[in-house]
Symmetry: C2
Subunit: 397 residues, 2 copies
């Protein structure tokens, strides 16, 4: 079931002509009827795109009226002209809802190193303005307008009961490839009609991202454009979140980010399996994250899952080069509930049965157990298929 649009927001996705295929929306305009709190988490890549630079300078704040999003062009590595184009996009989007230029944020995704077709974007914003609506159809086209090679749009929502009434929390995201952890991986936009102070919103978003978007990887390649925004306009008419209500909101935000992150991993380019890696029993969360990331990004682990091969040596040896210190004699590994490795030695298992379970299930569940402490992390990745290679060998030229 599609989530609803939080009160006080209207959205539209249109085809502006940035992408060639006229069936595909490539521009999304989101407006808030009133100034909204906005918080952002951005790529940690030193080479970051113009829209990232613009949004980073403008968040957290409590004055945002519009978010303008385009796909098909990342406006990254485009120098001063890229900065001017991002600023112009913000100005046009703000004007579409009679706001000041600095009241808009910008998200871009697509090819790196090409200049934005600004005439198409200007016309597209004008067209989107005419189509702004607060219904589910508008929400769907808005989510589609941010897609690149995603095979489906990603929407997640929660209805929260707070002390003074109900608020809505609705998020959209796009992923596909150039997805690596330790950052806000990809584009994400989370809207709510709850009221939140900027610093509180920023803290809640940063925390939610840490266990969600920073725990996925498709190919380990950190993008220039990764951005997750939280926009809270308070249109539900309740006081700014505090106490138990804030806790309820934070939990829901973490869930929404987690579901969106998982949807991105599940829609990784060429993927035939979603892989859920639980790393447990580490000394610190950082150690658990590092092991999980190393295992998740090993091409040999990823191809083993594509081939439904219970080749546990690849998992255990990847953990061994993660840079995390552990006693190999205490390591255990489970795949889909089968114990493959225990106390640092191969377990007796039915390889054909494990292989069958990997082949027949879309989701592969991996549990790596260390005897070093209580820290754990859950990480999502995909398998690596020939289709990923085909898509990325043929994408640009």
């Amino acid at each position: 079931m599609s989530p609803t649009v939080p009160q006080g927001f209207r959205l539209a996705g249109v085809h502006a002509g940035i992408k060639r295929n006229p069936q595909k929306p490539d521009l999304t305009l989101v407006v808030s009827e009133r100034p909204a709190t906005a918080a952002g988490v951005y790529t940690q890549n030193l080479v970051f795109a113009a829209p990232v630079k613009l949004d980073r300078a403008r968040t957290p704040c409590e004055q945002i009226r519009a978010v303008i999003i385009n796909s098909g062009n990342a406006n990254a590595c485009t120098g001063d002209r890229g900065d001017r184009d991002a600023a112009r996009m913000a100005e046009l989007a703000a004007a579409a809802c009679d706001a000041r230029a600095e009241q808009a944020l910008v998200l871009s995704t697509g090819v790196i190193g090409e200049f934005l077709p600004m005439e198409k974007i200007e016309a597209g914003i004008a067209a989107a303005r005419q189509k702004l609506a607060g219904d589910e159809a508008a929400l769907a086209t808005a989510a589609q307008g941010m897609m690149t090679t995603d095979t489906r749009h990603k929407l997640v929502g929660r209805r929260l009961k707070l002390a003074a009434g109900e608020v809505q929390l609705t998020g959209m995201a796009k992923g596909a490839a150039m997805i690596g952890p330790r950052m806000a991986t990809m584009l994400g936009l989370i809207l709510t009609d709850a009221a939140i102070a900027p610093a509180v919103a920023q803290q809640a978003l940063s925390a939610a991202v840490e266990d969600s978007f920073n725990c996925i990887s498709v190919d380990g390649h950190m993008s220039t454009n990764d951005t997750v925004l939280l926009v809270a306009n308070g249109a539900a008419g309740m006081p700014a979140l505090t106490g138990a209500d804030l806790e309820t909101f934070r939990n829901a935000l973490a869930e929404v980010c987690g579901e969106l992150a998982r949807a991105i991993a599940a829609d990784g380019e060429g993927a035939t399996h979603l892989v859920v890696i639980d790393v447990r029993g580490c000394a610190t969360r950082q150690a658990a994250h590092r092991v999980a990331k190393t295992v998740a990004e090993s091409p040999l682990v990823k191809t083993a899952i594509a081939g439904a091969d219970p080749n546990w040596g690849r998992f255990v040896s990847a953990a061994g080069y993660s840079g995390v210190s552990f006693d190999p004699r205490r390591v255990g590994l489970e795949v889909n509930g089968f114990q493959l490795y225990q106390a640092g030695a191969p377990a007796v298992f039915d390889a054909a049965a494990v292989s069958k379970s990997i082949r027949e299930q879309y989701e592969t569940r991996v549990v790596l157990q260390f005897g070093e402490g209580d820290a754990a992390v859950r990480f999502w990745t995909t398998d690596l298929t020939a289709e990923y290679v085909r898509l990325n060998a043929d994408y640009h030229t």
Copy 2:
């Protein structure tokens, strides 16, 4: 032209039955007529194989008479029984040349987590003993006996003129997959009839490995078995290397390791391109190595080369997430002599011509230039093809 066997060494490669295909040698015995200096560099993986444990404990030393090598089985993750099997292999190899058990070293490569077929290995060592020879045919079968999915054996030699006469330096190696840097990647065995003190040999080998085997990557997956050994028996009858002779030897050793490393990258599983990445203008060698490794291991960079796609955004953005600090406005990128990116901005170039040059040449030359200092590193990798995925999705079960 095949190199010659250094004086005082005899070798043989035989089919012992560890691999199924009877055409493929899977066991190599190398003996030295006199006790030889031996030095080793080993995987940094916490999960290391039994033969690595054995060799690490025995090197550097000056008493080695035999090296026994098997392919088809890594003897890794095999616990105490694996340790006993490795010790028994050493004992059998030593006995084959009337040496003491501790005078032998062991190299294994192949599937992880299966016990060695010790009866086949015992029979194989006996068979190899009968075939020991010092000619080029014996050298070739010895090099073949260490191969897994390598498509060709790898032999490199140098004839060195020293003050007191000539010595021979001959190396063999195997690679294919599970090839990542920051270790002695793979198996390598370098023989010489020069005389060297153990500490000097160890220092020379460690230095040579740093710029060769530690600067290649096929898939970034660090193996449990990586080992490079240098065995120097002094059979050329010259005094132990010092001064200018030692310098000549060290340079030749670096060249031999470099050529073998390059041959491993060139024979990476499924590879259609050898990629040579020069990172220049960094503040430290460590920074340059980290950038090179990050770019070399990005699946998006590797698929771009497979697709002959001058998609420079993938190279530049990979550098940006390497963790190395630099000013993006001073970054430059050349591919096959074409300037694609300069002073942090796209250069004007003929994309069709760049694409053609990548497609038509086996070797792709990448130069990444930073304006941060004088440190540089050369790194070798491969492209990523659907064939790599096919090989590794189907390897085990």
